[in-house]
């Protein structure tokens, strides 16, 4: 398969008054076209920093990243932010069309795509509402619709479901999978939930903290479409879960001692 994202020896150092912290230490990875990759690690391991560098919100200190662009008129990447990522003074509809409007696409096209994804995430009746009137789950649906509507080369997701209650989380995870399967976008998804990573991803990268490094890679080839019930019942998934858990435990212990 074609490589969509290649990251080579990416290093990020935060420097402050004579003290420096290495957030990312020579991280390298290749991500294939259409692959769903989850990055799992304890908080403070630099996974968000990695994503923000890919999202062009942070500069890298050393190394190289490359995202292959297939279509000229497509944006390179769009990010689904953690909760609070939708803009409170724009309605649901305006939030979803935000990226398209920023690119000044023809009105007709903006409307079509916005309507399509509003309907996809089941918010078409709520499109005139402001975010304050929405529940947490609905807000994240808006965020997801906004990113997909923008039709980027790759999607970046920064723990989008971390603040949701468990029931809502399950529902949104499955919804995300069904939208993703339709578009087959390349996704990098950050999470600290092992279950979430196992349900969503094709491949899981484990990160260690300080310095942030990829310490293990796990292929997750459970057949798709996936359901939470199936994943829970699957023996292999359970083994993966234990494996990841042990690895992360070790890392956390190491950073403490």
């Amino acid at each position: 398969m074609d490589t969509k994202i290649s990251i080579e020896n990416l290093t990020k150092v935060f420097y402050k008054k004579n003290a420096s912290v290495t957030a990312l230490d020579e991280v390298s990875m290749d991500i294939a076209e259409g692959e769903f990759v989850c990055i799992v690690g304890p908080s403070g391991c630099g996974k968000t920093t990695l994503l923000r560098i890919l999202a062009d919100l942070e500069t890298l200190s050393a190394g190289k990243i490359e995202i292959k662009q297939d279509k000229k008129d497509r944006p390179l990447q769009s990010m689904v932010f953690q909760e609070r990522g939708i803009i409170p003074w724009l309605t649901v509809e305006e939030n979803v069309s935000f990226g398209l409007k920023m690119r000044h696409l023809p009105i007709q096209q903006v409307r079509e795509r916005t309507d399509y994804y509003l309907q996809k995430v089941g918010l078409d009746q709520f499109k005139k509402l402001y975010p304050k009137e929405l529940s947490g789950g609905m807000k994240q649906r808006v965020s997801i619709a906004r990113a997909f509507a923008n039709d980027p080369e790759i999607l970046l997701m920064d723990e989008p479901f971390a603040a949701l209650d468990e029931q809502n989380k399950f529902i949104l995870q499955e919804e995300l999978l069904s939208i993703w399967e339709e578009t087959k976008k390349t996704v990098i998804f950050i999470t600290h939930s092992i279950d979430e990573a196992l349900l969503l991803s094709d491949r899981i990268l484990l990160m260690s903290a300080q310095p942030g490094k990829i310490i293990k890679e796990i292929k997750n080839d459970s057949p798709r479409p996936r359901k939470i019930e199936q994943m829970r019942a699957n023996q292999k998934t359970a083994e993966h879960f234990i494996e990841i858990l042990n690895h992360l435990h070790e890392e956390v212990q190491k950073s403490r001692s």
């Binding site: 944006p75 939708i86 803009i87 935000f98 304050k132």
Partner: protein, 274 residues
Amino acid sequence: MRPGENMKISHKAVEVEQQEWKKRRLKERMKQMLTIASPIILLLVWECLSRTNLIDVRFFPPPTKIIGTLFSMIYSGELFHHMWVSLYRIFCGFLLGAIPGIVIGLLMGLYSPIRHSISPIVMALMPIPTLALLPIIIILFGIGDFSKVVTIAGSVFFPVVINTTAGVINIDSIYLDVAKNYGASSKDFFFKIALPGSLPVMMEGIQMGQAIALLTIVAAEMMGATSGIGYLIWTSYKAFMLQEMFVGLILISFFGYLFSLLLRFIQKKILPWR
């Protein structure tokens, strides 16, 4: 369990809650009554004390007399003359202070070099009451309307500029990230993020500016003016026509209330997302 089975208990439970709800409603109404009653009672007490000569009628004429004076001043047209003059000055002064305040505030919020060069000047000038500059303002701009307008503009400018700057600076950084990630141009950033995002805090500054404008107009018209509500209060006081003076005070209080209602209404209209 079948539906009817629990009827008795649930019926009683509803009744208990209904009683509770009625009690709560009664309490709410009592509080509303208090809000309306307390100023009325104050006026009644004033009226009685004044009529029975327990307080000096020369300083505190009974409210009914003041109302009478108010009506006779309305009939003679004197009241409207002073009112319009003051309203005109407040309105012009408010705009002349608020508009540059908003523009400069937005620039200061958006561009940190501008903020760092202007904010020390703003901070240095802010504590100086514009009224203290009134003599200079009168020398520069004469005793006509314009000197009052300038005085009000000077007082309105500061709360508006400071709040607008703060409004822009305090926009949650995640919205800046969203704008950047989705490729907003600087024009789009201004109109979609900076301006609407700073609006709530900016409006608070405008609300404050409005209150200060009213305080300022009265004082500004006491010096070097020949008309206006402040002039009315001051000359009535000097001629010891305290009923007329109280009419002036009532006007100021009325307009203060009216303006803040008006601004609150505008705020609701332009900030539907709050």
